[in-house]
Symmetry: C2
Subunit: 121 residues, 2 copies
DNA sequence: TATTCATATGAACATGTACTCACTTGTTTG
DNA sequence: CAAACAAGTGAGTACATGTTCATATGAATA
């Protein structure tokens, strides 16, 4: 039936219907696209980038991280929660302190690749 | 002199002063951290992820992209501008149409690595 | 030339988000 | 037990950002 999908745009005038069909077939699953955006979004913040990089240099407690970054431990704690929820970091409790480490080899690689991009331009 | 930097937090009670010093020495340059956050932030949006993935499958004009995504060409155009400014994509004009392609091998790799992460979890 | 169309863009609006502040929790230590 | 402290959290706020809408621009076509 070719029931019109939600394409009020360029439905009749679009140039490459064949190409569009082909690309549409190869498109990412919506959940995957969402997941990608999520992980990249988490890396897309200056504070979180610095936290992750600091942790890539070694295990640190919240207090240490905030000292390294020069921000409040509250702000750091909020960001750590996001990273922890996304399983990018993991925590270890020791007395009053909670120590964080990277929990994802992918992230380390993404980080390295991102650095490549930034440094080579 | 050890002039106190802007550390109102944990200045006295922080556990691992040695570790903090060490990590602080290895920290990223601020511009680099900013650049990293910028590139990742650009990838951290569902619409842009889908645009980039569509372009990874082949050259497309604005109209085609909006058809594939099912969004307005205006919204797409706005996002394309961001990606173009960041040199992640490049454009080629042909008559009334403007065709876009990926302009960065790094991005292709980042994308693949991000996919790994999302799919393997 | 007038019209149609693809693309771009600015303003307005709505939503998301990162920080601060106040407070709580749980642990150590005096 | 009480005080001190590290860490977590909810509310509020300021700012960033993605979309829509209206419009502009520039090219093809009637």
């Amino acid at each position: 039936m070719n029931k019109p999908t939600n394409l009020d745009v360029c439905e009749k005038h679009c140039l490459h219907l064949d190409r569009v069909e082909q690309v549409r077939g190869g498109m990412l699953d919506d959940r995957v696209a969402e997941g990608l955006a999520e992980i990249f979004g988490l890396l897309g913040d200056r504070t979180r980038v610095r936290i992750l990089h600091a942790l890539s240099l070694g295990e640190l407690c919240v207090c240490d991280i905030s000292a390294v970054l020069g921000t409040t431990s509250s702000a750091v704690s909020h960001q750590l929660r996001l990273l922890r929820t996304a399983k990018l970091i993991k925590s270890r409790k020791e007395g009053k302190n909670v120590f964080y480490t990277l929990d994802d080899e992918h992230v380390r690689q993404l980080f390295a690749q991102g650095l490549d991009h930034v440094l080579e331009r």
